[in-house]
Subunit: 363 residues, 2 copies
């Protein structure tokens, strides 16, 4: 234990209720975790709702070789709650305010990326869970808990007109789909494709529609057609239908691909007009087979995107407030989290689970 | 034969000496081809030099399934010559002027791409060879010939300070490497990678150096180190050296990948900083295996690029004039073209072949 950690610890800790996994094949079970008492720049939040993200499941099951899981693991990075305490230097929040926390809880603050509001690129960034915890040692613990303490800069304001349970997934599914659309210039009249209609895809459709793009949903079956239109799609294309795919060749400005299963990205690249971009936000286990020719013709781009910076996350929440956008959620008590993981793994949710954290408090 | 073609043909034709292939396994042999007499907007050019591009070899051997070769095939799209006749509507050229022709000889002129000076994206564009010839029927014939007739808009001015033989490859190898650097913002102080040091790569090094970037050449062997530095590289990295590759991780603004052989693009993607771009200008036969994760982190881009528009090609020639840039060429008589193809196929040229067309005229 370093001196630095001791100093931080000397501020004091408290115990917080949580659900954690003890190993890659363990169920999530009730536990108690240590949180730091808020420092001068910290905000303590009473967690009301926490969305369940597919990342939670991957991390709990230790499915990412690049980010091995440290157990016990308390997942959750789609956090909505109410401020209970603030440190002496906190200026933007007071007890009683609504507050949200997404995927990031710290970064170095000084690097060019942080200075540009792109904390997601900071080499020193701290993820909300499973990242080294500079205050208490070990790793950070996420939002499947009754409270959390976070540095003010990483706490978002929650517009008061949003349904809180349905707003929780905005903190990851929302920003993950909103950010690349803004980055690649989705605006009125642009032709935008959304590949896959799950947790990420359904948010992408809502955002693209609100941005007044012409929205085309690509799906593997027509079962989702009615829902796609309800969410804001102008057209629905079954991606196995070669005739339909041909009809759309070289016409899209932007396509967001939310699919994590293996699939043919070349067929999607062919749909892009000159200088069009296909952005991946899902990551299949195996590499995509990408035809260089599909990129050379029309000077097409294949890019990736992961969450967004803090300023843009706030912008997204404010955009949601203005356009009355939230996720379509199924609210569950935390006691059903393991069942929800099973259903999530087989795609059986429309479109995100949110945990009502009152269920943890009363446990 | 359509009425339209008859009308065009009624302008008259003349015979031009050329070298053509009669089939995918045939050698290039002397022949005579029909050219149209110049129309009102046309320029007739006496060809002095024609570069040999790897595309010539692919097309002659019918190696592109998407663009089947029509025989006889007269390749060549790196053309430098002197104007001999101009049509009545031609304003920018007069007999005696130097002139150049690249990969394009026509487009519809009215579509948004043409209007934006991006003729390479026009769905009606006519390539310099093996494209349907709207004037004479059949396909267009390229620059392995003693003359060519081209619409004024597609004829470039040749700065007088450039060596003509060495300038020929600028019309394809030059613009192919210059265009993506301009498009992706290569400027002073940017860190730029060049993968592969062949015909395209050696031009990329010269351009990146002239644009005052920090230029790093990636090669498979250190044999090319001295030459890379001579051409303008600041550093040379052997791409199989994992330690060197790691040292450069997440530091590049832009990488141009000129390699047509199969290779690992993920190792290159890892070198890009946030929002960095890897542009492919070579096209391996088999798809690249691309890790989605490599793109997601740092919001990286994988893009392609193919030649450039007419205005940008002129800009490139003027840039070459200012910075005294030409290709490193080995000048051959056309009688050695088949031998040159064999050497090109095994990478035995530093760095481009240019045919001295005087050898055809005296044949």
């Amino acid at each position: 234990m370093s001196t630095n950690q001791f100093t931080s610890q000397s501020r004091g800790q408290y115990e917080s209720k949580a659900y954690s996994a003890m190993g890659p094949t363990s169920l999530l079970v009730p536990t108690s975790i240590s949180r730091r008492e808020p420092g001068d720049n910290d905000i303590k939040i009473d967690i009301l709702f926490c969305g369940i993200c597919h990342s939670d499941l991957h991390q709990v099951r230790n499915e990412w070789s690049a980010m091995p899981t440290v157990y016990p693991c308390v997942p959750g990075h789609e956090i909505i709650g109410r401020v209970t305490n603030v440190g002496s230097q906190v200026t933007k929040f007071k007890p009683g305010d609504l507050a949200a926390v997404g995927c990031l809880v710290d970064s170095d603050g000084n690097c060019p990326h942080c200075q540009a509001g792109l904390e997601q690129f900071c080499s020193q960034m701290t993820l909300t869970y499973n990242s080294p915890d500079a205050h208490l040692g070990g790793v950070t613990y996420g939002g499947y808990s009754d409270s959390i303490v976070v540095k003010e800069h990483f706490v978002l304001r929650v517009p008061s007109n949003l349904d809180l349970a349905a707003a929780a997934p905005l903190l990851c599914a929302g920003i993950t789909t909103y950010s690349p659309m803004r980055h690649w210039g989705v605006t009125k009249g642009r032709k935008v494709g959304v590949v896959g209609l799950g947790g990420l895809g359904h948010m992408a459709v809502k955002f693209a529609h609100a941005l007044e793009a012409h929205v085309v949903v690509f799906t593997t079956s027509l079962n989702k057609k009615v829902d796609a239109h309800r969410l804001g799609a102008d057209e629905v294309v079954v991606s196995q239908n070669n005739e339909d795919m041909k009809r759309h060749a070289s016409t899209f400005d932007f396509i967001i691909d939310t699919v994590s299963a293996e699939h043919d990205v070349n067929a999607l690249l062919q749909l892009l007009r000159p200088d069009g971009t296909l952005t991946l936000v899902g990551a299949p286990d195996r590499p995509h087979a990408v035809s260089a020719m599909a990129l050379l013709f029309n000077r097409r781009n294949l890019s990736g995107s992961l969450i967004g910076g803090i300023a843009e996350t706030q912008e997204m929440l404010d955009f949601c407030s203005k356009h009355n956008i939230t996720a379509d959620v199924e609210v569950i008590p935390i006691q059903k989290v393991n069942e929800a993981y099973e259903r999530l793994a087989r795609g059986d949710v429309k479109y995100r689970f949110t945990i009502d954290m009152a269920s943890l408090k009363s446990q």
